[in-house]
């Protein structure tokens, strides 16, 4: 298993009720598989997950990408800075 950290921002943080969580995931877990794990852990994120933006080690990541060991993952809605 790999331990990773998942950060939540904006609506995702509100709905998760947490700023971040450390979780263990199987090796070769993809972003899509992580989303499924996260929704199981935080059912409140169900309605956010289809339009979630995911980053892995501070780069945008996509469903088929594999999450490396000790990754810093973040999940957030489309950005609205400016």
């Amino acid at each position: 298993m790999n331990q990773i950290k998942v950060l939540f921002f904006a609506t995702l943080r509100d709905r998760a009720g947490e700023k971040s969580v450390n979780i263990d995931i199987p090796e070769e877990t993809t972003v899509q598989a992580l989303k499924d794990i996260i929704v199981k852990t935080f059912p409140g994120l169900q309605k956010s997950i289809d339009s979630v933006v995911v980053s892995v080690n501070r780069e945008f990541a996509f469903d088929e990408n594999i999450i490396p060991e000790s990754a810093e993952v973040a999940m957030f809605p489309p950005v609205s800075g400016g």
Binding site: L7, F9, A10, T11, D14, S51, V53, S55, R58, E59, F60, F62, A74, F76, P77, P78, V79, S80, G81, G82
Partner: protein
Amino acid sequence: MDYPTIYDITNSEIDINGLLAKLTLLSTGAAAIFTGMVRGKTKNGNPHETTYLEYEAYVPMAEAKMKQVAAEIRQKWPSIEGIGIIQRIGKLYPETPTVLIACTAAHRDTGVFDAARYGIDRLKEIVPIWKREVSPSGEEWIEGDYMPKPGE
């Protein structure tokens, strides 16, 4: 030649005068600057009032993406000399500048205006910052609509 690239996510007031000085070289003759402010009264679309906006950022990634926006600008407009990208975060009230993009060059006709415009457009697409709007009728997160693509 090392051209200045300044990016910052800050809780402090944005000082345009000071930033411009840092982006001005001996060869610089022109600067285009964009700033956005908190709009207290919105007329278009869904007319409403805003009491304040509260910004948050995923700071290390936001810094990396600001750096990327600057690199994209330099690639598209090689004549650009200095680039400044500042986002203020925290609780910001109407009429307060929240964001600034500044691009300098030797002359005004080699892309400074387009570069500054590109900078603010890209910031609003790929830099992980969000704002929550508090208004007399409640509060809500403002969500963008841009989904980044692989390689962005």
